[in-house]
Structure formats: structure tokens, C-alpha cells
Symmetry: C2
Subunit: 325 residues, 2 copies
């Protein structure tokens, strides 16, 4: 019997990741190509087609492709066809990926916001699979989020829900690129976190000065984590500071939504318990007592795969809904 | 033909309001009794029964009662029968109101959180009736809220969703009674707002000194509004300060949920545009640009009736669901 598979695409500003995913969430083969987002939509469409082609050429015998799912930055239309003004993509107003890529593959091309895809991937095959409802946070270049309620994505009125990074934790706090004062992203976004670390480390001895080659602008969360592992106190303090901000933001989400399971993914989550323990402490301190039972913050188990997995899951769900209809 | 009506009860810590509501949202007759919440659950049950009895005795000929809805403070069980530890009610752990009051009326007794009832009332017959999805904020003794998404209440995992008053707008801000630092309620709750006003007015000339009989602890939002109407600058500043905090909190909700319609009710909303104009300004300033289209903050049109209306609506919905089943 033919084995059902779906193509999952994680469209980033720098790289496109693609994977052929089976119905158990195994990635059978994958591909990475450069996005070259500065060369405009037509070029990027070609790059996505290239990535799809690469995984399809590697597909195992008997694998039957039911469709393609794409996780994209920025806003995605409610009908899941069109990507609207993704940040850092040149000349991109609104592009209907479903239509533009339809000729390439059997089945449909379905698009969703990348953080929402991560949430869907986690809900199906990641740390969120045991939870009916949870909040997904992705700590990468920016801070993204997704709301999964009763196993479904909560998308809001126009598909823009889940933007945790743009919630404010201090109305007089620093500005994020969105223009929101004290936005979570203004503390935990990669650029902002590095900036804070530089400032904190400036006058203190730390192994990070050596690792960063005297240029603290080169600091990465991975470096911070490794320094923390080696007992570097300033590195631990920076991660604890960031974790505290994360916990405070998530507490507001719990208080508003009464959803008590939180899954943290994305590159910055590599900082592990140096980030997540302080986050848990702040979370428990700022969730109202009547909502604290069963409160749980865990790290995503499928790492960066979760975006590709969620995108593939989109395609599976779409195909299933058409069989059901 | 018999006219379908429902009894709506707004169970407060001080008063119980009851109304007989028809399917157009008209309140045909009403009753007010004292809650006497300090005398324990059995006594309060008797008081609710008294309020129900009063409206039933006034019911017009031909009115057929399909059930009773009750809006109650604190947590309500997911099955909408039981009120759990309502604040300021003595000796009240968990009380199943549906069971305890079932013998009094034809149809069922359905219970929901009071702020959620206000949201439901607004959605059906109030300022929210034109919106498929909106956020209801109730500014009273505390700050409550409800999330209406696609005409339905979003209740979260255990029925506790919507607690806007416990979202933080400043992680280093003042503590609210919930123990959450910088919680919205720590600025806009009645007690906190009066406290801020006292502090602001202490050394400044204001008509409010005279009105409050030299005891600024007696300040009410109504006094603040009236003083603002008469051009009292300190009163206007206090209301603008509160409005700013409201707008900042609501912006985070919009950024998280992509729900762009906001309805403000409750006693403090009597301060009108002196409160709501600054709230709108802060809201527009802190909502991310991609979510600002169609953003709208309006005042509830049915005033304090909205709680009784929403409670009655609960009973109508419950009766309809049983006919449908």
C-alpha cells in the first residue's frame, strides 16, 4: 500500500528548509536552499520550487505525496494561500503561494504563519503532543508564538493571533522594531538579547570576551549557554535576566487565556535550563493563584524540525478535510 | 402564543440583581436584593431564590420561562453548574447552584463567570452585537474581561479565561490583590484608582477636595468624571492616566489575539471620554501596525444591565441547545 507523505517547507529570510514527512512525523529526507529574499518574489518562488524538487527527487518508492505545507514569516491570509509583506523580503506585497506553486505537486499548497506551523508541529509530533491546549513560543531572531486550543490553532480574526513577541511587559520599557514599548521581543529577540549581554559584560571578566574575539557583537545564545555551562557568572546572569522576562510575559498569557501548558522552542531555547528555570520561577510568581494548578513550561523536543513538521501537518490536515468533505 | 423569557441573575458581593428578559433583550421586570455574602452559602442561596421569586411574581401573562442564568464572581466549573471560591463570600468552597436551585424554576439553572456574562450580554444585545469577535472589559471594583470569538465565549481550559485585570503591564509595577506585579487591576481597580487619585490630588487645588468633604478616600469615578466635566485639571489627569494604562493593556490583548474590537463597560467606564480617549491613543500607539486596521474601542451601550442580560442569554442558549439535541 502507498505510504502517505507530505512536503513541509520552512521559509525563512535566509534559508528554506524542506522535508518529506510521513504520517508518524518522521522526516524521510530533507533539503536546504538559500532564500535570497532580496531578489524578489519570483526568485524566491523559484527557490521554494527548487527545495520541493530536491525532496521529491529523494522520495522513497511507494511514497504518495498528499500536498505541500509552507510556514512563512509575517502575515498569512485567512484562506491560507497568500503571504503578506513578510519582513526582510524585498518587493513582496502579497504573493499567493498556493496558486503560484500548484503546478509543481499533486495535492494542494497550504500556507500558515511560521510560528503557527511550529505550534502545529509541536502539537502533533513534538513536546505539545500530550497537551490539548498550549502556548508555543519560538525564540529565534524574533519572538513568535502560537495558541493551540483544543488541538486547533487559534488564529484570531485575520490570522494574526499568537504574536507573543509584541505583548508588552513594561509600558515604559525599550522599544522593539514593531514600535511597541516593552515588547517581549525587545528583551528576548536575538539582537536585543545580544545587546543586553554586551552591555552587561562590558566591564566584567567573562570567558565570553575571549570567545567573541573581543567583539561582543558576535555573541550568540549558544555561546552564552556554553559559558554558563562552564560556570561563567555573567553569562548565567544574562540568561536568567532573559528567562525572567519570558516568564513574566507568559504569565500574562496564562492569566488571559487559562491555558497552562507552555512549550518553548527556537534557537535561543538552546540556552536550556539557564533560561527556562528563571522563566518558570517568574511564571509561577505572576500567574494568579487560581490558575496555577498544572502550570508547566517545557522545552520543545523536536528542535528546529518543528517548523517543517508543522508545515507538513498542514498539508495532511488539508488533504484529510477534503476526503472528509 | 407563549412568549419565551429567561431569568438573568447578576450575583454580586453586595447585591443580587435579577431581571426577566425576553428574546429581544428587553428587561420586562426586575428585582434587587441584598446578597449578605457574609452569612454563608445557604443564606445566599435563599437570597437568590428570593430574587428569582420576585421577578417571577411580576411576570406578564403568557410569559413562558425557559430557565435561569446566573453570573457569579470568581471561577465557575466548565459544566456551568458550580461557583468556586468567589472572593468576599464567606465559607464558600464549591457550591452547585444548578442543583441547589433546580426545584425553583422550570428549565435549567446555568452559571457563568460574571465578566463572561457581561461579554455575552454585550454580544447579544449590547455594544458588541455588531462584532463577531471582541474583547469585553468590565471596570468595576475589580477589572474583569471576556473574550468573544466568532460569537462564542472563549473559556480556556478550566473556564477561567478573560482575566484581563491580571495581565501585567509592568513587571516591576505595583502589586494587585492577586499578587501580580503591574496587573491592570493595580491601576484601574476601583480601590487602586482612588488611591492614585488621592495621591495626585494631595497637594493640588481641585474641586474634588470640597466634594469629598476633605476626605479623598471617598472619591468615586463618578466624582472624577463630574469634576473633569467642570474643567478640573487634576481630575482629567487622573482619568487620562488610568485610560493610558487601559489602552496599553488592551494593546497587548490585540497583539496576542488579533481581535480588534474592544467594548468597555462597568461603573468606572462612566468616566466616559476622559478615560476612553487616552485609552484609544495608547491602544493605537501600542498595537503593532499590521493589526491596527479596524481597531475600535467603544463604550458598552446597555450599562450595568449587561450582566443580567448575559445571564439570561445563557439560559436561552442552554434551552436552545436542548431543543437542537
Amino acid at each position: 500500500m502507498a505510504k502517505q507523505v507530505a512536503v513541509g517547507i520552512d521559509l525563512g529570510g535566509t534559508n528554506i528548509k524542506a522535508g518529506l514527512v510521513d504520517s508518524d512525523g518522521a522526516i524521510l529526507c530533507d533539503a536546504h536552499v538559500r532564500t535570497q529574499a532580496n531578489r524578489g518574489p519570483d526568485h524566491v518562488l523559484g527557490r521554494i520550487a527548487e527545495a520541493i524538487g530536491q525532496v521529491l527527487r529523494q522520495r522513497p518508492d511507494g511514497a504518495e505525496v498528499c500536498g505541500v505545507g509552507i510556514g512563512a514569516p509575517g502575515k498569512v491570509s485567512m484562506d491560507r494561500t497568500t503571504v503578506i509583506k513578510p519582513p526582510n523580503f524585498s518587493d513582496w506585497d502579497e504573493v499567493n503561494l498556493s496558486k503560484s506553486l500548484a503546478h509543481l505537486v499533486p495535492g494542494c499548497v497550504v500556507v500558515e504563519n511560521d510560528a503557527n506551523c511550529a505550534g502545529l508541529g509541536s502539537a502533533t509530533w513534538g513536546a505539545g503532543r500530550d497537551f490539548d491546549s498550549f502556548i508555543m513560543v519560538t525564540l529565534g531572531t524574533g519572538v513568535g508564538g502560537a495558541i493551540i486550543h483544543e488541538k486547533k490553532l487559534f488564529r484570531g480574526v485575520t490570522g494574526g493571533a499568537g504574536e507573543l513577541g509584541h505583548m508588552s511587559i513594561d509600558y515604559e520599557g525599550p522599544y522593539a522594531r514593531s514600535g511597541v514599548a516593552g515588547a517581549t521581543e525587545a528583551y528576548l529577540g536575538l539582537h536585543y538579547l545580544s545587546h543586553h549581554a554586551r552591555y552587561q559584560l562590558h566591564t566584567r571578566p567573562s570567558i565570553l570576551h575571549e570567545w567573541a574575539g573581543r567583539d561582543l557583537a558576535r555573541l550568540s545564545p549558544k555561546m552564552l549557554h556554553q559559558a554558563a555551562e562552564q560556570g561563567d557568572e555573567p553569562a548565567r546572569e544574562v540568561l536568567a535576566w532573559a528567562g525572567h522576562k519570558l516568564g513574566v510575559a507568559l504569565a500574562s498569557v496564562v492569566n488571559l487565556l487559562d491555558i497552562r501548558k507552555l512549550v518553548v522552542g527556537g534557537g535561543v531555547s538552546a540556552a536550556g535550563h539557564y533560561l527556562l528555570d528563571p522563566a518558570r520561577m517568574a511564571l509561577h510568581g505572576a500567574v494568579m493563584p487560581s490558575l496555577s494548578e498544572g502550570l508547566e513550561l517545557v522545552r520543545e523536543t523536536r528542535g528546529n524540525e518543528v517548523g517543517v513538521l508543522g508545515a507538513a501537518r498542514l498539508a495532511f490536515e488539508d488533504a484529510e478535510s477534503k476526503i472528509g468533505a
